[in-house]
Amino acid sequence: MEVIQQLIGRLHPVVVHLPIGFIITGLLLQWYDRKEKQLTNIIALVFLWGFIAAIIACISGYCLYLGEGYAFDTVALHLWSGVFTALFSLLMFLRLKEVFEKNFLKRLPIVMLSFSLLFLISITGHLGGNITHGSDYLTEPLPQNIKSFLGIRVETYEMPVLQEDNWEEAFLYEDVVQPILNNKCVSCHNPKKDKGELQLDGENGILTGGENGAVLKPNDPDNSSLYTRLVLPLDHEDHMPPKDKTQLTKEEIKIIKTWIANNNNFDKKIGELGLQRELFAAFFPKTNKSLYPKARVAEASKDSIVALKNKGLHIEPISMDNNFLKVSCTNSPLFGDEDIKSLAPVIKQTVYLDLGDTKITDDVFEVISQFPNLTVLKLDNTDITGKGIEKLKGLEHLTILNLTDTGFKEEYLSVLSSVKQLKTIYLYNTPLAETNVDKIIEGTHYNFGNYKLPIMATDTIVY
């Protein structure tokens, strides 16, 4: 049964065009026939069909409403105007046919009925369109200035953004709180559509409150409904924003709470209020934390990747949406200086190169220096001593270099320090590791490892 109901419901978008067609045809015929009055019978018939089609559209529309789970509020106006369209179509038919002698219908002017029908069919159609496409569908393509001229609210969904260097200078209310309210509350609480008689678009509205009185109690967020309603369970009747609307994030709720707790001050700066940066962490612009270069490269040829895989190399894109490649010799311990030349077809794409535990020697630097996007280079557990490592200078993206368990010599350390772009260098188990401890020089982290966990008396105590 439910299936049939749903099916009928989904026919609604098709069926609705029938009454529109019939009624408009009827109205046009009336206009055409306004003088001769020869076609009254035919016009009446058209409105009868208009009525029948409208009834079918109403039934299918009701099924759609039941099946798709619309809130009654959303569809109410459309539903009732649809029903009235059907009724008026019937009235028109009865009026034109003069079925009943001497009845009140005769007193109704046909012109009034015609205009009512024109109005009803337009408004029903428009409301229906709003339900399926959204209420701003029609006006959306209009230029901004025409929109504001017509009085259509221009919604600006801009997340509050703070900058690292001047966040303390930003105003708590103006730069953070009000933008949050604008994004999440003002679409229902504005001067045009003040649900619950509450307006949250500015200082006055917020301080005035709504039909239940003030929404703010200075310094007492737990008794301010502007805050408490945000933290009610989502299913609670009084929870705001309503369940089907975009909710405030945890961070935003915290900001509202903090603002109220600070005397809901409207003109102090964040710095003046002495608030912690942590509170606003979510509002700083997201930095690109990816290790790998931002630039994009062309995809490496599939055939060359397959050929390399068949040689036993592990080779994969760093992610499905990226053409950069990760190449590893985990499965090919015999990989040597000559073999690295076979990577020529993927030289641009390779960002992660693991040559650990292979037969490579210092000669490898010559070839490695030709990988323009190389970011992570692992040379651990090899016979590398560091000779020729200055060739890596040209690799502008090189960030991590792993030389663990190699014969890396002290004398090349100064050369290495000239490879400025490096962030981390692992040098554990090299001849240097014995005499050095971890240090950071000019932003480069030298990790010598050799960590110890000294013996403690408690290690051997058994309780």
């Binding site: 992610s319 499905m320 949406d321 590893s328 651990d380 408690t458």
Partner: protein, 502 residues
């Protein structure tokens, strides 16, 4: 016509009557369906794609189910080491410092705290039990660590704490299943299985998902905690042992030499290849591959499972006991495995069920010994990964299946000789360290006695979502179709815990 003939005739007529036109049409339809269905199967693909030489195009995964795949999004880590303390360690003696509980020690628990709560063993009104350890703020982060973990307090700045993890299970089996598979009931794949299914394995000589156990027993929930559930069984965890054969039956039988073994496998594979040329069933290729991998594993696994070749200072740092089954050995092995490209290493250490029924399960005695057992190895693991540049690309997760009550256990309403705590899942501590984790962070706050979460409550699903996030997955999009719907590790829940991400 005799009676027999008449009977047979009648039977045939009955059959014909029963087999109406309707049946005929119905049968026809089934036949058509069968034809259509056939085309869905790759092996008898009559309409699908073929490559140039008339063979069916195979993906790498058809041939080798463990072939590695790129993650959907750039990953922060490529491997995971998950340290599961089976039995549920007491957060109140290790990380969650509650001085107020000390003051309330010995007092009866208020009724309001007990209403509507279910406990495994506590009956009637238990007494509150103060922390049995001393706490200090450690490292630059100033996070609290107890004196049960003196080594760990030196590396505390490397980890991010989750102080208010919540589970709805309070018995070991279901809670362990929940923690490892996302459901307290059997049948769902474990985290490691999901991860190896999604990413495969880099090292083609080793399993992608290795399980190591210590503490004398395997988890209460059995091997299902590393099972593959509805995923193909090739993605289940492979249990390796640090004592005896690393994998059961890995040695060749007596009298079978390596060469003979190789010849045998070659012969079997040759027959299988012929079979494949005839039927083009990718399952045959997968089988050939499995034979070869098993052969390679026979040398690779014993080699990697041998910790004797590690230098002395490393063995000392972990506190290993070669030849024995120990958490320290397993930690060192975990590092070796991750170093060699194993995707997911799962450690279980049994013996954390501190009920206070005897010396071994007392929170001030047995628990302290358990802490000593893991303190050095897990701290060494973090440091060793760090000095080798592996901590950047590995995620280390530590936790139990739930936490323990701030009340002293009173089994059957009786006062007990040793101090113990009952199972409690409302708020317990876990930590994570490694790539993408905010070092020194602490997320979540429990109430004054550590009974329930005040802030930053996270669920088991949230932990899973975070692990998958760091490996480059959106946990809401990583699905497997089973029983008519797509399944996720986090099913219909889970939010990435951004507070502990760098």
């Amino acid at each position: 016509m005799n009676n027999i003939d008449r009977l047979i005739k009648e039977k045939i007529e009955r059959e014909l009557q029963a087999n109406t036109r309707r049946h005929f049409i119905k049968n026809c339809v089934t036949g058509m369906g069968g034809l259509a269905l056939g085309s869905f199967f790759m092996s008898c693909n009559s309409f699908g794609s073929k490559n140039g030489n008339g063979k069916i195009a195979l993906t790498e995964r058809d041939v080798n189910p463990l072939a590695s795949l790129a993650p959907p999004f750039p990953a922060k880590v490529k491997s995971v080491i998950y340290l599961h303390m089976a039995g549920a360690p007491s957060q109140l003696e290790m990380f969650d410092y509650k001085p107020a509980l000390q003051k309330l020690d010995g007092q009866l628990t208020p009724q309001s705290m007990l209403e509507g709560k279910k406990f495994a063993f506590i009956r009637g009104t238990p007494k509150l039990l103060g922390p049995q350890a001393e706490f200090k703020q450690e490292g630059e982060s100033g996070n609290w660590v107890s004196n049960f973990l003196p080594h760990f307090s030196k590396v505390v700045d490397e980890v991010a704490f989750l102080k208010a993890v919540n589970t709805d299970q309070f018995n070991h089996g279901p809670a362990q299943l929940f923690m490892q598979t996302g459901s307290p009931r059997l049948g769902r794949p474990s985290i490691g299985s999901w991860v190896t299914y999604g990413l495969g394995s880099e090292n083609q000589n080793l399993p992608g998902f290795v399980v190591l156990t210590s503490g004398g027993k395997t988890p209460d929930a059995g091997k299902s905690v590393w099972g593959s559930g509805f995923l193909p069984s090739v993605y289940q965890g492979v249990q390796c042992r640090s004592k005896g054969d690393p994998v059961l039956y890995i040695e060749d039988p007596k009298g079978i030499s390596r060469d003979l073994k190789k010849n045998t496998i070659d012969a079997i594979n040759k027959i299988n290849k012929e079979e494949f040329n005839k039927y083009s069933d990718p399952e045959i290729l997968a089988r050939i591959n499995q034979y070869e991998m098993a052969y390679r594993m026979q040398t690779a696994v014993p080699e990697i499972m041998n910790i004797n070749n590690e230098p002395e200072h490393i063995k000392e740092m972990y506190g290993v006991q070669p030849g024995k089954e120990s958490f320290a050995n397993n930690c060192l092995l975990a590092r070796k495995l991750v170093e060699d490209g194993v995707r997911f290493v799962q450690l279980y250490d049994w013996g954390w069920d501190s009920h206070g029924t005897d010396h071994g399960t007392a929170v001030d005695l047995g628990l302290r010994n358990k802490c000593t057992e893991i303190d050095r190895p897990m701290s060494a693991l973090l440091l060793d990964l760090k000095q080798r540049g592996l901590l950047d690309e590995t995620l280390v997760v530590w936790g139990g299946e739930f936490g323990r009550t701030p009340m002293q256990e009173n089994r059957e309403g009786q006062e007990m000789a040793y101090k113990g705590r009952d199972h409690h899942g409302d708020a317990f501590t876990m930590w994570m360290a490694g790539g993408g984790i905010k070092k020194g962070a602490s997320h979540g706050v429990t109430d004054e006695i550590g009974y329930s979460a005040l802030e930053g409550k996270v669920s088991v699903h949230d932990v899973h979502a975070t692990i998958l996030h760091l490996l480059g997955f959106n946990h809401e999009q990583f699905t497997f179709d089973f029983q008519g719907r797509p399944f996720r590790l986090t099913d219909v829940e889970g939010h990435v815990i951004n507070e502990i991400l760098a």
